[in-house]
Amino acid sequence: MQTEIKFAGFGGQGILLSAKLLAYAAMKQGSFVAWVPSYGPEMRGGTAYCTVVISDKLIGSPIIKNPTHLVAMNRPSLEKFVDDVKPGGIVFINKSLIPGGSDRTDIIKLEVPINEIAIKAGSVRAANIVALASFAAKSKLVDLDLLKDCIKGEFAAKAKIIPLNMKAFDEGVNFANNN
């Protein structure tokens, strides 16, 4: 069983970090993982994206054309990648920036107003954690407590922002569970 998740958005939206945290939690859970960034000229000002592959066996090709799921943080990313997602996959849509959504009916749409939720939790800067948490809750790919531990580990050097991120995480999970 192999699952591939594409994370896409503007540079600066925490795409690479969110993807890394998910990969890290999956690794701790005992899965094989690969984190493959785009490092082309697109990074400068355009869409940044990266793919996480989670598998129960050794990962062959880390280059994925059709991912299982998509986390789209902005409109260009959604438009560019939504048609690549395999039928039945989860498409996370950052409702704060993407009003339209997608016409596809063979996917599970998870539309989350991450900015509003993050502001309510304390700061818009935790929006990427809201996104990660709600996607993780919906997809059930990793244990949520384990993922929280990975986030704490990542922010260990900046301990004072951990409570904010934990709150944002819980709010993201709640939203996914109730919508």
Binding site: K20, Y39, G60, I63
Partner: protein, 354 residues
């Protein structure tokens, strides 16, 4: 040690430190700059030296100097940078000094692009600079890059010559779980017989001379014979390869190396689900090349043809043809410039072959 999630470039950097390399000289170039970024932080913690040269040409000779003085030393670069270092690599081979070079290959020729490629196979395996010399090794992922980097220092000292890790941009940029095997660390060899490591620290009274200039024809011929003897020994002792799905009655044999071999593995697994048996022979050392293994796998009774799949326009395929000796048709498929042939494309090509 527990597994950690690391980028290939960072993992190579950490592996070098764990292998006892405390000297790193480099000039930045995408897609391998994270190696320097990592080592500029880590080396001072270990009492080591990081120095950024003014160019790759300068770096090449910094490596020569440190290696000649008997220090464990490494540099990392990417294709155009390795071209600039090639002169020094040739000198280092001639002067028989151990040093490790990592080439995180990007698209070429010229400045090319910054995405992954295998376009430097010819350069790495056939010399690259002038004269009769060779280099080795190619990893297929972050874990193997770590192990090969650690082994490279041992190999460089065993053969007193340059060893190259031939990676590509994807191996450098991708994050995978890695472990750093302690057993791959070796103590530095005794270099008193040849290195200019200081008269105070060694017992011998003999002065050592590190040089690559041999004006006397007999002396130069003897030096080349000594190098040839080492390359012959490598061919006997250092060949590494992976045979994948070679037990069954496969009709097609794929040859590929590095990142490309992972994509081929996925294609082979998918074809197997359809009942089509395809095997792969993956050289881990691209020099010395697994000549006999390629010949044996290609000439198995069930095997009708061979295809070399590479991220270039056809380089390793020449070695494959040489090894197959005309016993089977050898085809080639490759993409470059950053595009990597997909499993679906490979499946389509294989189906046309059978």
């Amino acid at each position: 040690m527990a597994k950690v999630l690391m980028k290939g470039n960072e993992a190579i950097a950490e592996a070098a430190i764990r292998a006892g390399c405390l000297n790193y000289f480099a000039y930045p170039i995408t897609p391998q700059s994270e190696v320097a970024e990592y080592l500029v932080k880590r080396l001072p913690e270990e009492g080591g030296v990081f120095l950024q040269g003014e160019s790759e040409v300068a770096v090449g000779y910094m490596i020569f100097g440190a290696a000649g003085a008997g220090e464990r030393v490494m540099t990392t670069s990417s294709s155009p940078g390795i071209s600039l270092m090639s002169e020094a690599i040739s000198y280092i081979a001639a002067a028989q000094c151990p040093a490790v070079f990592v080439n995180i290959v990007r698209g070429g020729p010229g400045l090319g692009g910054i995405l992954p490629s295998q376009g430097d196979y010819f350069q790495a395996t056939k010399g690259g600079g002038h004269g009769d010399y060779h280099l080795l090794v190619a990893p297929d992922g972050v874990q193997e890059a770590v192990e090969m980097t650690m082994q490279a220092f041992t190999l460089a000292e065993k053969y007193r010559g340059p060893v190259m890790i031939l990676g590509d941009g994807l191996i450098g940029q991708m994050m995978e779980p890695v472990e750093f095997p302690d057993n791959l660390k070796t103590e530095p060899s005794n270099k008193d017989d040849w290195a200019t490591n200081g008269m105070d620290t060694r017992k011998s009274k003999k002065r050592n001379l590190v040089k690559s200039l041999f004006l006397d024809p007999t002396e130069l011929n003897n030096n080349n014979l000594a190098l040839k003897a080492k390359y012959d020994q490598m061919k006997r002792e250092e060949i590494q390869f992976e045979a994948y799905n070679t037990d069954g009655d496969y009709k097609v044999l794929i040859t590929s190396f590095g990142t490309m071999s992972r994509v081929c593995r996925t294609a082979i697994d998918l074809l197997k689900e359809e009942g089509i048996e395809v095997a792969m022979l993956r050289p881990k050392t691209v020099f010395p090349f697994p000549e006999q293994a390629v010949f044996d796998a290609a000439t198995k009774k069930s095997c009708k043809s061979v295809i070399s799949i590479e991220m270039n326009m056809g380089q390793m395929v020449e070695d494959v043809e040489r090894c197959v000796k005309g016993q089977r048709p050898v085809e080639f498929y490759g993409e470059c410039g950053g595009d990597i042939p997909s499993p679906e494309k490979i499946i389509e090509i294989i189906k046309k072959m059978i």
